[in-house]
Amino acid sequence: MIKRRRFLKGVAAGAAVAGAELAVPALALAQGAKIKVGLMLPYTGTYAPLGVAIENGFRLALQEAGGKFGGREIEFFKVDDESEPAKATDNVNRLVNRDKVDVVLGTVHSGVAAAMIRVTRESGTLHIIPNAGVGVATGALCAPNVIRTSFSNWQSGYAMGVVMSHRKNAKSVVTITWRYAAGEEFVKGFKDGYLKGGGKIAKELWVPFPNVEFQPLLTEIAAVKPDAVYAFFAGGGAAKFLRDYAQAGLKDKIPLVGPGFLTDGVLEAVGSAAQGVETALHYADSLNTKRDKEFRLAYAKAFKLQPDVYAVQGYDSGLLLAAGLKAVNGDVSRKKELIAAMEKATVDSPRGKWRLSRAHNPIQDIYLRKVVGVENKYSGVAVKALDDDPAAMAACKMR
C-alpha cells in the first residue's frame, strides 16, 4: 500500500515537473544548453575496469554521433559509486538533486542499482542501467523512466537451461552458486529452461557469499555423479572455482556450464583449467559479424584497449539514448515522447539487433560460448530474441 502511494506520488511529481518544464520554450532549450548526463559508475575497487569500459563505450557512441545527441552537446557529471550500496542513495541524489542531470547512467552492482531506482522512480529522471542484471529492476521495481540496456540474470540462466534440456546426455544436473540474489536468479532461470526438457536437478548446492572454500562441495558433486554441473561465481571466486574443479579431476568427467560471467575476465588467470567450459551470454568473442568487427576496431583505436561485454553495454546505452533524443530534437523535457521513441527503437548493437521489452529489458539473442584459449568463443545461438522472466514481467506494473 505504501509502495503504491509512493509510486503514485512519484508519478504525480514527475508529471508536475514535466509540466513546468514544458512552459519554457522548447526551441530555446533544444538549441541552447547542453544535455546533462550523470555517470554513476564504479571508478575504484574491483569493478573499476567495468565502470571505465561502460563510460568508454558510451563516449564512443557519442563520438560516432558527431559529439551530439539530438543536436545537443552532452555535459558529463561523474560520481564514483564504489559499488557500495550503503552510499548509493546519497550518490544518486547528488546527481539528481544537486546537479539536476537529465539522464542518469548507472550502474554495475545490482544492490547499488536497486537503490538508484528507488530514487529515480521518485524523481522521474531518465535512468539507464548499463549492467546490473538484478531481476526486480525490470520486474517489481520497473518504471517508465527506468531502462536497462544490458541483460537480466534470468536470461542467461534460462538460455543455458534450454541448451542443456536438448542434450541427450544431460539428464541430471547439479547446480552450485553463492547464496545471494544474483546466484539465485541464475539458478532459477536455468531451472525454468532445463526442467521443461524432462531432465532433473540432482542437487542444488549453495555456498555462503563470498566464501570460496569449494572443496567439500566438489566432493559432494563427485559423489552425486550428475551428467553436468551448472555453476555461477564471478571474479576471483570464479577463478578459484574453475581451478578447484579441474584439480579435483572433475573437469574431464562432468561437463561444466554456467552464465557468461563464470568465464569472463578470468581466463588468463585460470589457464588450462577453463578449457571447454560452456557458458551463455548476450555477447561473445569472435562473433564475426561486420557490425561487431567495426565496433571492436573503433573501440581499440579510441581507447587502446580491447572492448568487452561491458563496453558493448555502455555503447548500446549511448545508441539507445541517441535514438530517443533524435525523436524529440534533443528536448529532454518531452520525456514521454523521448521514452516512447526509445521503446520503439531497434538498437543496432555489436551484440546483434535488440529492442526493449514492455518492462524495459532488452529482448535479445543469447549466445552459447565455449572457452578456447583465452577467448569465450561463439559457438551458436542458445535462444533467439529472448524476453525476460515471465514472473518478473508479471510483477512489473508500469501502466
Partner: protein, 298 residues
C-alpha cells in the same frame, strides 16, 4: 553420505583447518605476546598471494619465489613495527584497530597501483602437480596435501621455538610482564620486532602457498581475516594451542555444515545453516568458556 565420502570430507575439513591455522597463528601470536590487535593481518595474506604471483613470474620458479616472498613480508613487518606499531603498545585497543584498519586501505590501494585489480593465477609447481585418485570421479591434488604438511611443520616449529628455546622463554616472559623482562637487561623491543615480523611472515606464507590452489584477487585478505578472528576467539586470544584446535574445529564445522542438510519430509530446514555453522560453533564455545577454550581467565 557413505563412509568413503565421509572420510574424504574429513580430509577436506582438516586440510582447510590447517591452512586457517597458518594464517590465524600469526594473528594470535601478535595479540597474545604484544597485545596488539592487527586487523590488517588479512592484507598480508593477500600481499603474500600477490608476491607469489609476481615473484614466480619474475624468477620463473615457485621455489625461489617462496623464500623471497617470506623475506619480503618479514621485512615489511620489521618496517611497520619500527615506524608505526611501536607507538601503539601503551594505547587502547581502539587506537590499534583504527590504525591497522587504515593500513588495510593503504595496502589495498598500493596493491591496486602496483599490480592492478585483475584476477591472477599461479601455476602449481611441477613436482606437486599430480593428483591422487580417490574415487571413480574424484581426485585429490597432491599440492593440497603438501599445504597440510607445511602447516603441520610450521605448527611444530612454533611449538619448539616457544616452548623449548631461550628466545621462546623470553617471548613468553615478555607477554606476562614486559617491564620485568626489560629490567632484567633484555631488549624487549627487539623481541617484539621479531615476533611481529614472524606473525606477518606467517600470514604472507599462508597467502603464498594458498595462491596456486586459490586465485589471486583484490580483497581476498578480508574474507580470511573474519574467519581468523573467529579462530582466535574460539581458541582463546593469544593461545597458539587454542588456535590449532579452533582452526581444526572450524575447518570441520564449515565442511560438514556445507554438505549436511537437515531435511524433514523433503523440505530443507534452515537452508542458511551452512553460512551459520561456524558462528554457531563460536556462540556455543563462548557460552561455555567466554575467554575461549585455552584463553587466560581475566
Amino acid at each position: 553420505m557413505d563412509f568413503h565420502t565421509f572420510l574424504i570430507q574429513l580430509l577436506n575439513g582438516v586440510q582447510y583447518g590447517l591452512l586457517l591455522f597458518l594464517v590465524a597463528s600469526g594473528l594470535t601470536l601478535v595479540f597474545g605476546i604484544m597485545g596488539i590487535i592487527n586487523v590488517a593481518h588479512g592484507s598480508f595474506y593477500m600481499i603474500g598471494a600477490y608476491l607469489a604471483w609476481w615473484l614466480a613470474g619474475r624468477f620463473d620458479s615457485f621455489w625461489i619465489a617462496l623464500p623471497a616472498g617470506i623475506a619480503l613480508t618479514a621485512a615489511i613487518g620489521v618496517a611497520l613495527e619500527t615506524f608505526i606499531i611501536r607507538h601503539l603498545y601503551d594505547r587502547d585497543h581502539l587506537y590499534q584497530v583504527l590504525l591497522t584498519y587504515g593500513l588495510i586501505l593503504v595496502f589495498e590501494e598500493t596493491r591496486s597501483l602496483l599490480w592492478g585489480d585483475d584476477v591472477r593465477g599461479v601455476q602449481i609447481p611441477e613436482v606437486l602437480s599430480a593428483s591422487i585418485r580417490l574415487t571413480e570421479t574424484l581426485s585429490y591434488p597432491v599440492y593440497r596435501l603438501w599445504i597440510s604438511a607445511v602447516c603441520l611443520m610450521v605448527a611444530g616449529l612454533m611449538y619448539w621455538v616457544l616452548q623449548k628455546t631461550r628466545l621462546g622463554m623470553i617471548i613468553r616472559a615478555g607477554s606476562f610482564n614486559r617491564d620485568m623482562v626489560q629490567s632484567l637487561g633484555i631488549n624487549v623491543q627487539l623481541v617484539y620486532r621479531i615476533v611481529f615480523a614472524a606473525g606477518i611472515a606467517l600470514a604472507g606464507l599462508a597467502g603464498m602457498i594458498a595462491a596456486p590452489v586459490s586465485a589471486v584477487f583484490p580483497g581476498m585478505g578480508n574474507q580470511v581475516l573474519i574467519i581468523c578472528f573467529v579462530v582466535i576467539v574460539i581458541g582463546g586470544m593469544g593461545s597458539v594451542k587454542g588456535a590449532m584446535l579452533a582452526s581444526l574445529l572450524i575447518g570441520l564445522a564449515d565442511t560438514f555444515g556445507k554438505v549436511i542438510h537437515l531435511e524433514a519430509g523433503g523440505v530443507r530446514l534452515l537452508p542458511e545453516l551452512s553460512s551459520m555453522t561456524v558462528y554457531l560453533l563460536m556462540a556455543i564455545v563462548l557460552l561455555w568458556r567466554p575467554e575461549g577454550v585455552f584463553g587466560r581467565r581475566p
